[in-house]
Amino acid sequence: MNILEIKNLKKSFDTEVIKDISLTVEEGKVVGIIGPSGSGKSTLLRCATMLETIDSGEIIYMNEHAVRTNPDGKAVYASPKELRRIQRYFGLVFQNFNLFPHYSVIKNITDPLITVQKKSKNEAMEIGRRLLEKMGLSDKEHAYPCQLSGGQQQRVSIARALALNPKILFFDEPTSALDPELTGEILKVIRDLAQEHMTMVIVTHEMSFARDVADHIIFMDGGVIVEQGNPEDVINNPKNERTKAFLNRFER
Protein backbone atom coordinates (compact mmCIF):
# COMPACT_ATOMS: atom_id res chain seq x y z
CA MET A 1 0.00 0.00 0.00
CA ASN A 2 1.36 3.42 -0.93
CA ILE A 3 0.81 5.92 1.81
CA LEU A 4 2.12 8.77 -0.32
CA GLU A 5 2.65 9.23 -4.00
CA ILE A 6 4.09 12.36 -5.52
CA LYS A 7 4.08 12.63 -9.29
CA ASN A 8 5.91 15.21 -11.38
CA LEU A 9 5.83 17.85 -8.69
CA LYS A 10 6.95 21.31 -9.79
CA LYS A 11 7.26 24.37 -7.62
CA SER A 12 8.76 27.78 -8.35
CA PHE A 13 9.36 30.80 -6.24
CA ASP A 14 11.45 33.26 -8.22
CA THR A 15 13.18 30.35 -9.88
CA GLU A 16 12.11 26.75 -10.16
CA VAL A 17 12.96 25.11 -6.85
CA ILE A 18 11.38 21.68 -7.41
CA LYS A 19 11.78 20.45 -10.96
CA ASP A 20 9.66 17.43 -11.67
CA ILE A 21 10.03 15.20 -8.63
CA SER A 22 8.22 11.89 -8.26
CA LEU A 23 8.41 9.52 -5.33
CA THR A 24 6.36 6.96 -3.48
CA VAL A 25 6.39 5.98 0.15
CA GLU A 26 5.08 2.54 1.02
CA GLU A 27 3.45 1.72 4.31
CA GLY A 28 5.97 1.03 7.08
CA LYS A 29 8.92 2.34 5.09
CA VAL A 30 11.37 5.07 6.03
CA VAL A 31 12.60 7.37 3.29
CA GLY A 32 15.67 9.51 3.96
CA ILE A 33 16.22 12.66 1.93
CA ILE A 34 19.72 14.11 1.77
CA GLY A 35 21.27 16.85 -0.28
CA PRO A 36 23.08 20.16 -0.14
CA SER A 37 21.60 23.34 1.27
CA GLY A 38 19.14 24.97 -1.08
CA SER A 39 18.48 21.80 -3.04
CA GLY A 40 14.75 22.01 -2.26
CA LYS A 41 14.38 19.39 0.49
CA SER A 42 12.33 21.58 2.82
CA THR A 43 10.28 22.90 -0.07
CA LEU A 44 9.45 19.33 -1.07
CA LEU A 45 8.24 18.53 2.47
CA ARG A 46 6.33 21.79 2.65
CA CYS A 47 4.58 20.99 -0.62
CA ALA A 48 3.76 17.48 0.59
CA THR A 49 2.31 18.87 3.83
CA MET A 50 0.45 21.63 1.97
CA LEU A 51 2.26 24.49 3.58
CA GLU A 52 3.13 25.51 0.01
CA THR A 53 0.86 25.23 -2.99
CA ILE A 54 2.41 23.44 -5.92
CA ASP A 55 2.51 24.65 -9.52
CA SER A 56 1.82 21.30 -11.11
CA GLY A 57 1.95 17.60 -10.38
CA GLU A 58 0.01 15.23 -8.18
CA ILE A 59 0.04 14.50 -4.47
CA ILE A 60 -1.84 11.39 -3.42
CA TYR A 61 -2.30 10.13 0.13
CA MET A 62 -3.84 6.70 0.67
CA ASN A 63 -5.04 6.73 -2.94
CA GLU A 64 -6.86 10.02 -2.40
CA HIS A 65 -5.82 12.95 -4.54
CA ALA A 66 -4.91 16.05 -2.56
CA VAL A 67 -3.82 17.72 -5.81
CA ARG A 68 -4.13 16.71 -9.39
CA THR A 69 -3.15 18.51 -12.54
CA ASN A 70 -5.41 19.60 -15.37
CA PRO A 71 -4.58 18.71 -18.95
CA ASP A 72 -3.56 22.36 -19.37
CA GLY A 73 -0.93 21.87 -16.67
CA LYS A 74 -2.53 23.72 -13.74
CA ALA A 75 -2.57 22.16 -10.30
CA VAL A 76 -6.06 21.70 -8.83
CA TYR A 77 -6.48 21.04 -5.13
CA ALA A 78 -9.22 18.93 -3.62
CA SER A 79 -12.12 20.65 -1.84
CA PRO A 80 -11.43 22.09 1.62
CA LYS A 81 -13.51 19.30 3.14
CA GLU A 82 -11.49 16.61 1.37
CA LEU A 83 -8.25 18.35 2.25
CA ARG A 84 -9.21 18.38 5.91
CA ARG A 85 -9.63 14.64 5.77
CA ILE A 86 -6.38 14.12 3.86
CA GLN A 87 -4.60 16.42 6.33
CA ARG A 88 -5.20 13.81 9.00
CA TYR A 89 -3.03 11.29 7.17
CA PHE A 90 0.21 13.14 7.82
CA GLY A 91 2.15 14.87 10.56
CA LEU A 92 5.18 17.14 10.38
CA VAL A 93 8.02 17.65 12.83
CA PHE A 94 9.73 20.99 12.36
CA GLN A 95 13.40 21.81 12.67
CA ASN A 96 12.65 24.40 15.35
CA PHE A 97 9.82 22.46 17.04
CA ASN A 98 7.15 25.20 16.85
CA LEU A 99 5.59 24.16 20.13
CA PHE A 100 2.88 26.46 21.44
CA PRO A 101 4.71 28.40 24.17
CA HIS A 102 1.57 29.34 26.11
CA TYR A 103 0.49 25.72 26.50
CA SER A 104 1.98 23.24 28.93
CA VAL A 105 3.65 20.15 27.52
CA ILE A 106 0.55 18.03 28.00
CA LYS A 107 -1.73 20.69 26.55
CA ASN A 108 0.45 21.00 23.45
CA ILE A 109 -0.33 17.34 22.84
CA THR A 110 -3.95 17.18 23.96
CA ASP A 111 -5.32 20.43 22.58
CA PRO A 112 -5.23 19.35 18.91
CA LEU A 113 -6.92 16.11 19.91
CA ILE A 114 -9.69 18.00 21.65
CA THR A 115 -9.99 20.98 19.30
CA VAL A 116 -9.43 19.26 15.98
CA GLN A 117 -10.34 15.63 16.50
CA LYS A 118 -13.10 16.37 19.04
CA LYS A 119 -11.86 13.73 21.45
CA SER A 120 -12.94 13.89 25.09
CA LYS A 121 -10.55 15.47 27.56
CA ASN A 122 -10.05 12.12 29.31
CA GLU A 123 -9.26 10.29 26.12
CA ALA A 124 -6.87 13.05 25.05
CA MET A 125 -5.11 12.99 28.42
CA GLU A 126 -4.71 9.25 28.19
CA ILE A 127 -3.13 9.51 24.74
CA GLY A 128 -0.97 12.42 25.83
CA ARG A 129 0.34 10.67 28.95
CA ARG A 130 1.06 7.47 27.07
CA LEU A 131 3.11 9.37 24.48
CA LEU A 132 4.96 11.41 27.09
CA GLU A 133 5.90 8.21 28.81
CA LYS A 134 7.13 6.79 25.53
CA MET A 135 9.23 9.93 25.04
CA GLY A 136 10.59 9.66 28.58
CA LEU A 137 9.00 12.95 29.58
CA SER A 138 6.34 11.90 32.06
CA ASP A 139 7.80 14.21 34.69
CA LYS A 140 7.50 17.22 32.35
CA GLU A 141 3.76 16.97 31.83
CA HIS A 142 3.03 20.34 33.42
CA ALA A 143 6.20 22.13 32.31
CA TYR A 144 6.13 24.85 29.66
CA PRO A 145 8.22 24.60 26.47
CA CYS A 146 10.54 27.40 27.63
CA GLN A 147 11.51 25.24 30.61
CA LEU A 148 12.71 22.36 28.44
CA SER A 149 15.94 21.65 26.61
CA GLY A 150 15.86 21.63 22.81
CA GLY A 151 15.93 17.85 22.76
CA GLN A 152 13.02 17.66 25.17
CA GLN A 153 11.06 20.21 23.15
CA GLN A 154 11.63 18.20 20.00
CA ARG A 155 10.42 15.04 21.76
CA VAL A 156 7.26 16.88 22.81
CA SER A 157 6.71 18.02 19.24
CA ILE A 158 7.11 14.44 18.02
CA ALA A 159 4.60 13.31 20.65
CA ARG A 160 2.23 16.08 19.53
CA ALA A 161 2.44 14.86 15.93
CA LEU A 162 2.07 11.20 16.89
CA ALA A 163 -0.96 11.89 19.08
CA LEU A 164 -3.06 12.61 16.01
CA ASN A 165 -2.21 9.11 14.80
CA PRO A 166 -0.93 10.02 11.33
CA LYS A 167 -0.29 7.42 8.65
CA ILE A 168 2.98 9.12 7.76
CA LEU A 169 5.29 11.46 9.63
CA PHE A 170 7.59 13.98 7.97
CA PHE A 171 10.72 15.29 9.68
CA ASP A 172 12.56 18.35 8.39
CA GLU A 173 16.05 18.23 9.89
CA PRO A 174 14.74 17.34 13.33
CA THR A 175 18.15 17.63 14.97
CA SER A 176 19.62 20.66 13.20
CA ALA A 177 18.53 23.14 15.85
CA LEU A 178 19.98 21.03 18.65
CA ASP A 179 23.34 21.03 20.39
CA PRO A 180 25.36 18.03 19.20
CA GLU A 181 25.03 16.26 22.53
CA LEU A 182 21.23 16.38 22.26
CA THR A 183 20.85 14.97 18.74
CA GLY A 184 21.26 11.39 20.02
CA GLU A 185 18.05 11.40 22.03
CA ILE A 186 16.01 12.48 19.00
CA LEU A 187 17.69 10.00 16.67
CA LYS A 188 16.90 7.26 19.16
CA VAL A 189 13.22 8.23 19.26
CA ILE A 190 13.09 8.11 15.45
CA ARG A 191 14.90 4.77 15.38
CA ASP A 192 12.35 3.38 17.84
CA LEU A 193 9.54 4.63 15.62
CA ALA A 194 11.15 2.95 12.62
CA GLN A 195 11.29 -0.32 14.57
CA GLU A 196 7.54 0.01 15.14
CA HIS A 197 7.16 0.42 11.36
CA MET A 198 6.03 4.00 11.47
CA THR A 199 6.01 5.35 7.91
CA MET A 200 8.38 8.31 7.79
CA VAL A 201 10.09 10.73 5.44
CA ILE A 202 13.16 12.26 7.04
CA VAL A 203 15.24 15.13 5.73
CA THR A 204 18.55 14.97 7.53
CA HIS A 205 22.22 15.86 7.43
CA GLU A 206 23.09 12.92 9.70
CA MET A 207 24.45 10.54 7.09
CA SER A 208 25.15 7.52 9.28
CA PHE A 209 21.73 7.89 10.89
CA ALA A 210 20.08 8.09 7.46
CA ARG A 211 21.93 4.98 6.35
CA ASP A 212 20.90 3.06 9.48
CA VAL A 213 17.29 4.05 9.74
CA ALA A 214 16.12 4.53 6.16
CA ASP A 215 14.89 1.83 3.79
CA HIS A 216 15.37 4.15 0.85
CA ILE A 217 17.61 7.16 0.35
CA ILE A 218 16.94 10.04 -2.00
CA PHE A 219 19.76 12.42 -2.88
CA MET A 220 18.46 15.75 -4.12
CA ASP A 221 20.37 18.55 -5.76
CA GLY A 222 19.11 21.58 -7.66
CA GLY A 223 15.47 20.60 -7.29
CA VAL A 224 15.79 17.15 -8.81
CA ILE A 225 16.40 13.65 -7.51
CA VAL A 226 19.95 12.96 -8.62
CA GLU A 227 20.29 9.49 -7.19
CA GLN A 228 18.20 7.13 -5.09
CA GLY A 229 18.24 3.59 -3.89
CA ASN A 230 18.94 1.53 -0.83
CA PRO A 231 21.08 3.27 1.80
CA GLU A 232 24.15 1.11 1.41
CA ASP A 233 24.33 1.80 -2.30
CA VAL A 234 23.65 5.52 -2.22
CA ILE A 235 25.71 6.41 0.84
CA ASN A 236 28.53 3.88 0.64
CA ASN A 237 28.78 3.48 -3.13
CA PRO A 238 27.33 6.53 -4.84
CA LYS A 239 27.29 6.35 -8.62
CA ASN A 240 26.66 9.98 -9.44
CA GLU A 241 29.48 12.52 -9.30
CA ARG A 242 27.35 15.09 -7.47
CA THR A 243 26.39 12.51 -4.84
CA LYS A 244 30.03 11.60 -4.42
CA ALA A 245 31.08 15.21 -4.05
CA PHE A 246 28.34 15.85 -1.53
CA LEU A 247 29.08 12.78 0.56
CA ASN A 248 32.81 13.45 0.51
CA ARG A 249 32.16 16.50 2.60
CA PHE A 250 30.86 14.26 5.39
CA GLU A 251 33.14 12.01 7.36
CA ARG A 252 31.86 8.54 6.92
Binding site: N96, N98, P112
Partner: protein, 242 residues
Protein backbone atom coordinates in the same frame (compact mmCIF):
# COMPACT_ATOMS: atom_id res chain seq x y z
CA UNK B 1 -23.42 62.02 40.10
CA UNK B 2 -25.28 64.24 37.67
CA UNK B 3 -23.47 63.35 34.50
CA UNK B 4 -23.97 59.61 34.29
CA UNK B 5 -26.04 58.44 31.37
CA UNK B 6 -25.30 61.39 29.15
CA UNK B 7 -27.57 63.78 31.11
CA UNK B 8 -27.41 67.53 30.76
CA UNK B 9 -23.88 68.71 31.05
CA UNK B 10 -23.49 72.33 32.03
CA UNK B 11 -20.47 74.39 31.22
CA UNK B 12 -18.03 74.11 34.14
CA UNK B 13 -17.32 77.79 34.57
CA UNK B 14 -20.97 78.71 34.72
CA UNK B 15 -21.53 75.84 37.05
CA UNK B 16 -19.03 76.97 39.64
CA UNK B 17 -19.96 80.62 39.48
CA UNK B 18 -23.63 79.84 39.88
CA UNK B 19 -22.78 77.72 42.85
CA UNK B 20 -20.83 80.19 44.89
CA UNK B 21 -21.83 83.51 43.40
CA UNK B 22 -18.31 84.86 43.76
CA UNK B 23 -17.93 83.94 47.42
CA UNK B 24 -15.21 81.63 48.66
CA UNK B 25 -16.21 78.01 49.16
CA UNK B 26 -15.03 75.63 51.80
CA UNK B 27 -12.63 72.81 51.08
CA UNK B 28 -15.40 70.26 51.48
CA UNK B 29 -17.47 71.97 48.79
CA UNK B 30 -14.41 72.18 46.61
CA UNK B 31 -13.83 68.47 47.08
CA UNK B 32 -17.40 67.64 46.25
CA UNK B 33 -17.20 69.64 43.01
CA UNK B 34 -13.89 68.05 42.13
CA UNK B 35 -15.14 64.57 42.91
CA UNK B 36 -17.90 65.05 40.35
CA UNK B 37 -15.20 65.94 37.86
CA UNK B 38 -13.26 62.89 38.92
CA UNK B 39 -16.22 60.63 38.28
CA UNK B 40 -16.62 62.10 34.85
CA UNK B 41 -12.93 61.55 34.09
CA UNK B 42 -13.18 57.95 35.24
CA UNK B 43 -16.30 57.53 33.16
CA UNK B 44 -14.57 58.82 30.01
CA UNK B 45 -11.64 56.53 30.76
CA UNK B 46 -13.74 53.40 31.27
CA UNK B 47 -16.05 53.95 28.32
CA UNK B 48 -13.14 54.74 26.00
CA UNK B 49 -11.36 51.51 26.89
CA UNK B 50 -14.56 49.50 26.77
CA UNK B 51 -15.18 50.48 23.16
CA UNK B 52 -11.71 51.18 21.75
CA UNK B 53 -10.06 47.92 22.85
CA UNK B 54 -12.42 45.71 20.82
CA UNK B 55 -12.76 48.28 18.02
CA UNK B 56 -8.97 48.27 17.71
CA UNK B 57 -9.16 44.63 16.59
CA UNK B 58 -11.65 45.49 13.88
CA UNK B 59 -9.33 48.28 12.71
CA UNK B 60 -6.32 45.93 12.76
CA UNK B 61 -8.12 43.39 10.62
CA UNK B 62 -9.02 46.17 8.21
CA UNK B 63 -5.44 47.36 8.19
CA UNK B 64 -4.21 43.82 7.49
CA UNK B 65 -6.99 43.05 5.00
CA UNK B 66 -6.12 41.58 1.64
CA UNK B 67 -8.58 44.02 0.08
CA UNK B 68 -6.63 46.98 -1.27
CA UNK B 69 -9.41 49.53 -0.74
CA UNK B 70 -10.23 48.52 2.84
CA UNK B 71 -6.57 48.32 3.76
CA UNK B 72 -5.76 51.76 2.43
CA UNK B 73 -8.86 53.47 3.80
CA UNK B 74 -7.99 52.11 7.22
CA UNK B 75 -4.41 53.20 6.76
CA UNK B 76 -5.53 56.77 6.04
CA UNK B 77 -7.85 56.73 9.04
CA UNK B 78 -5.03 55.55 11.30
CA UNK B 79 -2.61 58.12 9.98
CA UNK B 80 -5.10 60.94 10.56
CA UNK B 81 -5.84 59.72 14.09
CA UNK B 82 -2.16 59.53 14.91
CA UNK B 83 -1.09 62.56 12.92
CA UNK B 84 -3.43 65.21 14.33
CA UNK B 85 -3.97 66.36 17.92
CA UNK B 86 -6.66 64.53 19.87
CA UNK B 87 -7.89 67.93 21.03
CA UNK B 88 -8.63 68.93 17.45
CA UNK B 89 -10.33 65.60 16.78
CA UNK B 90 -12.64 66.12 19.76
CA UNK B 91 -13.59 69.54 18.40
CA UNK B 92 -14.28 68.12 14.95
CA UNK B 93 -16.48 65.36 16.37
CA UNK B 94 -18.41 67.86 18.49
CA UNK B 95 -18.71 70.84 16.19
CA UNK B 96 -18.37 68.99 12.89
CA UNK B 97 -21.97 67.85 12.50
CA UNK B 98 -23.10 71.45 12.81
CA UNK B 99 -20.38 73.10 10.77
CA UNK B 100 -20.38 70.54 7.98
CA UNK B 101 -23.99 69.32 7.82
CA UNK B 102 -25.78 72.11 9.63
CA UNK B 103 -27.21 69.68 12.17
CA UNK B 104 -28.18 71.41 15.37
CA UNK B 105 -26.12 69.91 18.15
CA UNK B 106 -27.83 69.27 21.45
CA UNK B 107 -26.20 69.63 24.81
CA UNK B 108 -26.52 65.89 25.39
CA UNK B 109 -24.32 65.30 22.36
CA UNK B 110 -21.38 66.84 24.19
CA UNK B 111 -20.60 63.74 26.24
CA UNK B 112 -21.31 61.37 23.34
CA UNK B 113 -18.93 63.41 21.20
CA UNK B 114 -16.17 63.07 23.77
CA UNK B 115 -16.58 59.31 23.91
CA UNK B 116 -16.71 59.01 20.10
CA UNK B 117 -13.61 61.19 19.78
CA UNK B 118 -11.63 59.25 22.34
CA UNK B 119 -12.77 55.85 21.06
CA UNK B 120 -11.89 56.43 17.41
CA UNK B 121 -8.54 57.93 18.40
CA UNK B 122 -7.57 55.20 20.82
CA UNK B 123 -8.86 52.42 18.55
CA UNK B 124 -6.35 53.61 15.95
CA UNK B 125 -3.49 53.47 18.44
CA UNK B 126 -4.58 50.10 19.80
CA UNK B 127 -4.92 48.77 16.25
CA UNK B 128 -1.30 49.57 15.49
CA UNK B 129 -0.20 47.91 18.72
CA UNK B 130 -2.27 44.82 17.93
CA UNK B 131 -0.85 44.70 14.43
CA UNK B 132 2.73 44.81 15.63
CA UNK B 133 1.86 42.04 18.09
CA UNK B 134 0.21 39.86 15.46
CA UNK B 135 3.08 40.38 13.03
CA UNK B 136 5.63 39.45 15.68
CA UNK B 137 4.24 35.93 16.07
CA UNK B 138 6.57 33.56 14.19
CA UNK B 139 5.08 32.07 11.04
CA UNK B 140 5.99 28.64 12.45
CA UNK B 141 3.13 28.97 14.94
CA UNK B 142 0.62 29.29 12.10
CA UNK B 143 2.27 26.45 10.20
CA UNK B 144 2.30 24.12 13.19
CA UNK B 145 -1.37 24.86 13.81
CA UNK B 146 -2.24 24.30 10.17
CA UNK B 147 -0.47 20.94 9.96
CA UNK B 148 -2.17 19.86 13.20
CA UNK B 149 -5.51 20.63 11.58
CA UNK B 150 -6.61 23.80 13.39
CA UNK B 151 -8.81 25.95 11.18
CA UNK B 152 -8.09 29.66 10.75
CA UNK B 153 -10.46 30.78 13.48
CA UNK B 154 -9.17 28.23 16.00
CA UNK B 155 -5.60 29.13 15.12
CA UNK B 156 -6.22 32.79 15.78
CA UNK B 157 -8.25 32.40 18.94
CA UNK B 158 -6.30 29.59 20.62
CA UNK B 159 -2.76 29.89 19.34
CA UNK B 160 -2.09 33.42 18.10
CA UNK B 161 -4.24 35.74 20.21
CA UNK B 162 -3.02 34.59 23.65
CA UNK B 163 0.56 35.16 22.56
CA UNK B 164 -0.30 38.51 20.99
CA UNK B 165 -1.91 39.68 24.23
CA UNK B 166 1.19 38.79 26.20
CA UNK B 167 3.41 40.64 23.76
CA UNK B 168 1.35 43.81 23.55
CA UNK B 169 0.49 44.22 27.23
CA UNK B 170 3.39 46.60 28.00
CA UNK B 171 2.48 48.82 25.03
CA UNK B 172 -1.22 48.69 25.93
CA UNK B 173 -0.35 49.68 29.49
CA UNK B 174 1.42 52.75 28.13
CA UNK B 175 -1.64 53.76 26.13
CA UNK B 176 -3.96 53.20 29.06
CA UNK B 177 -1.81 55.40 31.29
CA UNK B 178 -1.71 58.05 28.58
CA UNK B 179 -5.48 57.90 28.33
CA UNK B 180 -5.85 58.82 32.01
CA UNK B 181 -4.02 62.05 31.37
CA UNK B 182 -5.71 62.58 28.00
CA UNK B 183 -9.16 62.58 29.62
CA UNK B 184 -8.41 66.14 30.64
CA UNK B 185 -8.56 67.13 26.95
CA UNK B 186 -12.34 66.80 27.17
CA UNK B 187 -12.32 70.35 28.52
CA UNK B 188 -12.02 71.71 24.96
CA UNK B 189 -15.68 70.98 24.42
CA UNK B 190 -16.58 72.04 27.93
CA UNK B 191 -16.98 68.69 29.56
CA UNK B 192 -16.67 69.35 33.29
CA UNK B 193 -14.17 66.60 33.94
CA UNK B 194 -11.59 66.71 36.68
CA UNK B 195 -9.14 69.11 35.16
CA UNK B 196 -11.61 71.69 33.89
CA UNK B 197 -13.30 71.71 37.29
CA UNK B 198 -9.97 72.27 38.96
CA UNK B 199 -9.17 75.08 36.57
CA UNK B 200 -12.53 76.74 37.07
CA UNK B 201 -12.27 76.46 40.83
CA UNK B 202 -8.72 77.71 40.85
CA UNK B 203 -9.64 80.86 38.99
CA UNK B 204 -12.88 81.58 40.82
CA UNK B 205 -11.32 80.89 44.22
CA UNK B 206 -7.96 82.37 43.41
CA UNK B 207 -6.12 79.35 44.82
CA UNK B 208 -3.90 76.57 43.54
CA UNK B 209 -5.34 73.98 45.91
CA UNK B 210 -7.68 72.49 43.26
CA UNK B 211 -4.67 71.86 41.03
CA UNK B 212 -2.88 70.09 43.85
CA UNK B 213 -5.94 67.95 44.44
CA UNK B 214 -6.18 67.24 40.70
CA UNK B 215 -2.51 66.22 40.65
CA UNK B 216 -3.03 63.82 43.53
CA UNK B 217 -6.11 62.42 41.84
CA UNK B 218 -4.35 61.74 38.55
CA UNK B 219 -1.43 60.19 40.37
CA UNK B 220 -3.60 57.82 42.40
CA UNK B 221 -5.66 56.97 39.32
CA UNK B 222 -2.47 56.11 37.45
CA UNK B 223 -1.17 54.11 40.35
CA UNK B 224 -4.28 51.95 40.52
CA UNK B 225 -4.33 51.39 36.77
CA UNK B 226 -0.63 50.56 36.68
CA UNK B 227 -1.19 48.11 39.52
CA UNK B 228 -4.02 46.39 37.68
CA UNK B 229 -2.02 46.22 34.45
CA UNK B 230 0.93 44.74 36.28
CA UNK B 231 -1.35 42.15 37.79
CA UNK B 232 -2.60 41.22 34.31
CA UNK B 233 0.96 41.08 32.97
CA UNK B 234 1.88 38.74 35.82
CA UNK B 235 -1.00 36.49 34.84
CA UNK B 236 0.80 36.01 31.52
CA UNK B 237 4.26 35.54 32.97
CA UNK B 238 3.95 31.78 33.44
CA UNK B 239 5.60 31.24 30.07
CA UNK B 240 8.19 32.90 27.88
CA UNK B 241 7.96 33.49 24.16
CA UNK B 242 11.18 32.40 22.51
Amino acid sequence: MGYVGHGSVPCPVEFVIKLNGGALVELSVMLSILSKGMLLSVEIFVLTLLFSIPLGFVVTFGRMSKNFIIRNLVKIYISIMRGTPLMLQLMVVYFGPNLIFGIKISNEYRFTAVIIGFVINYAAYFAEIYRSGIESIPVGQYEAAKVLGYNKFQTFMKIILPQVIKRILPAVTNEVITLIKDTSLAYVISIPEMFSQAKALASSQNTLVPYAIAGVFYYIFNYIVAYIMEWIENKFSYYKIS
